[in-house]
Symmetry: C2
Subunit: 405 residues, 2 copies
């Protein structure tokens, strides 16, 4: 069946001229993005809109600094020379912010999806109030924007990546590794930001969701994948036909609490045998004999494994086995094209992947598992903050008329 | 974050006058459906379209026999009397067909989503070629349509429920319980149908998908749920925001092959410890000591359990435990509002539910499991064929301009 109908259609407004213009602005901006550089005539051909309509829409996009005029060319044809239109790399941009357990991050992405500014600063969140942490984050935002201004970029929106459950309202319901409960990050952060930023939309999202969206926008994994990443906890995300599955309350993706061995060890969540008990950072460090060692534990694990320390490579293989079992269930349920290893797992992939492939191959049998379906993120631990910045600029690309000027 | 952007917008056609009319036809038909009976003035108010536009759109809907004029009323106001418009219960309808392992089914649903015709006939598929089975199914279709014609109903589309993996092309890739591989049901069935039916679109879908869609359209479970049903195998389906998740190749929902105890018994699929080894029909019959008994095994299990036979109630409780473990994983991953027990499970719910609730309560801890989230389908084993018929008529409701007249 081709269509996936969803009950009787909700009553929205009627299709309107205004709605058409809005959709067509996005259509033309999308065409400029895809063509790289295009004349008005080429845009008309590519979108099916008349030249007059394209001319008017391009005028609006130029006024909003989303598109700019580039080189003039004769197209090798007789007639008027045409001006190439290109996506503006000096206009609106997205600001991404990240609250980690041990660091803060900031990132600026332009309309072409290029990362232009990237700052990462160690700062343990433990022992700080949300207000203190958000104050430091506002300072980092200011730094990032000063650097962006040097490139001629102005923020059009802000998104914040948080290691915790974020309700659909944007409120952080629970971030156990930060010790936060019911923190309205957008409401608390906005007043701390300087003037132009204070009035921009601030989105808040789970780091694993943003890591998965970063993969969608920057990776080469297509539009149907399961993304699994490790940071403080294990984050899962299901992207299907380019859409992130968020769930009823926005809490989807808790792969870390999928039962692997139902009678296994107790998990702090209250259940038994959850994936985190086998493949979470604490579990792997404990099995490796490295628990309590200070510093960047992921780099340490990678170094020890690379040096051939058997206890570490065995701990990572065991984690890979548990990941493979949990992901086999997710693949059987969701039939994705790819499984993507992100975050800290990407840096440990060499020691996780063989056991994961063995389990996926043994347990995805309804149609044979293709080992090429398991891929490793190139963004690694940068995924969430890059995803945050990109989501903020993508909002403008999807709906140019939303830009506040 | 409110929006779920999906990368750069695909280049479709521009928003057009024709597309607007198409959307507005659906808008008006949807409003008539929701209001029950409405005057043109009320439709204008409800949709935001002008009275002139509503008048013209209603004219088209009447010509297509989707809407008809009902009683004339004075609305209690001074002025012209107005005619109530209602959804036509004597116009286009959907024909659903079902290929079961032991039976064939047919169902007719009208534009109001009411079931008007229902036929179920025992016919074991084993030992018959696909051509023979489809020949018998075409005969059943004819019977159902003769009955529908008696109600003044004419088929607008056909959908077929199949117990197997259906590729997005509509081809049945594998139906192990029928012994079918790579059967193009639509291509084989259409020539067997009589004249008017032969030219209609024939959709083919997995029975568990159609059972879940029936729940979406006819049940009271909202738009975000996991549906798990038992027929020959175990069928899972995830509906999120009113959309059925189909997966990259259309093979999503294989809850029956989610690992429950990874080192458990071998499954015919090639894996170990799959849910089907604990909660599939064969496993439950074996554990109940009822394997090989002829007749309707589901009714037999229910009767034996109701009579208090301990071996049967224990087998069902064990199945419920395994279902609870697998569903806890699915709930942690997808954050649905409801879990719906359908098909044969609905008839055995009394003995499955207590163990399922215990496991869900113990394993969905990130946010507490609400026992009211587990519900039982009222459609039971009728779900797939009712879903097939409804999907065929829903296609017209979603896009009235698709109706072939």
């Amino acid at each position: 069946m081709s269509a996936t109908p969803g009950g009787f259609r909700e009553l929205g407004g009627p299709a309107s001229q205004q709605g058409m213009r809005r959709a067509n602005l996005a259509l033309v901006l999308g065409a400029v993005t895809r063509l790289g550089a295009a004349s008005r005539a080429q845009l008309s051909e590519s979108t099916g809109l008349t030249r007059a309509a394209v001319g008017s829409l391009v005028g609006d996009l130029i006024d909003a600094r989303l598109v700019r005029e580039g080189a003039v060319s004769l197209d090798g044809r007789v007639g008027r020379p045409s001006t190439a239109l290109i996506v503006n790399d000096r206009g609106p941009c997205g600001l991404g912010l990240e609250i980690g357990v041990e660091h803060l991050g900031a990132c600026v992405v332009d309309l072409r999806h290029e990362v232009r500014v990237r700052i990462r600063r160690p700062l343990p969140a433990r022992g700080r109030t949300p207000q203190e942490t958000l104050g430091a984050l506002a300072g980092l935002a200011l730094e990032a924007l000063a650097e962006a201004a040097g490139h001629g970029l102005e923020p059009a929106g802000v998104a914040v990546a948080v290691p915790g459950l974020v309700a659909k309202t944007g409120v952080v319901a629970h971030a156990p590794n930060l010790g936060w409960r019911e923190v309205d990050v957008a409401a608390a952060l906005s007043p701390l930001l300087p003037e132009p930023l204070r009035w921009l939309p601030v989105d808040v999202d789970n780091e694993a969701n943003l890591g998965a969206l970063a993969e969608l926008w920057h990776g080469a994994v297509g539009r149907d994948f399961v993304h699994v990443s490790a940071a403080a906890g294990i984050g899962g995300a299901l992207v299907t036909d380019g859409m992130l599955l968020r769930g009823r309350r926005g809490f989807a993706g808790e792969l870390g609490h999928v039962p692997v061995y139902p009678d296994g060890p107790a998990c702090p969540c209250g259940s038994h045998g959850c994936l985190e008990q086998y493949a979470g950072e604490e579990a792997v460090l404990r099995a490796s004999g490295l628990r309590g060692v200070p510093g960047d534990r992921v780099s340490l694990l990678a170094a020890e494994a690379a040096a051939g320390r058997v206890r570490v490579t065995r701990a990572l293989a065991d984690a890979g086995r548990a990941l493979g079992i949990a992901l086999a269930g997710a693949v059987n349920l969701a039939d994705p094209e790819k499984v993507v290893l992100g975050g800290a797992y990407a840096e440990l992939a060499a020691w996780l992947v063989p056991a994961m492939q063995a389990e996926l191959g043994a347990r995805v049998r309804i149609r044979p598992w293709d080992p090429a379906g398991l891929t490793v993120s190139a963004l690694r631990r940068e995924g969430p903050v890059v995803g945050a910045a990109t989501s903020a600029v993508q909002r403008v690309i999807d709906d140019p008329s939303s830009l506040r000027t």
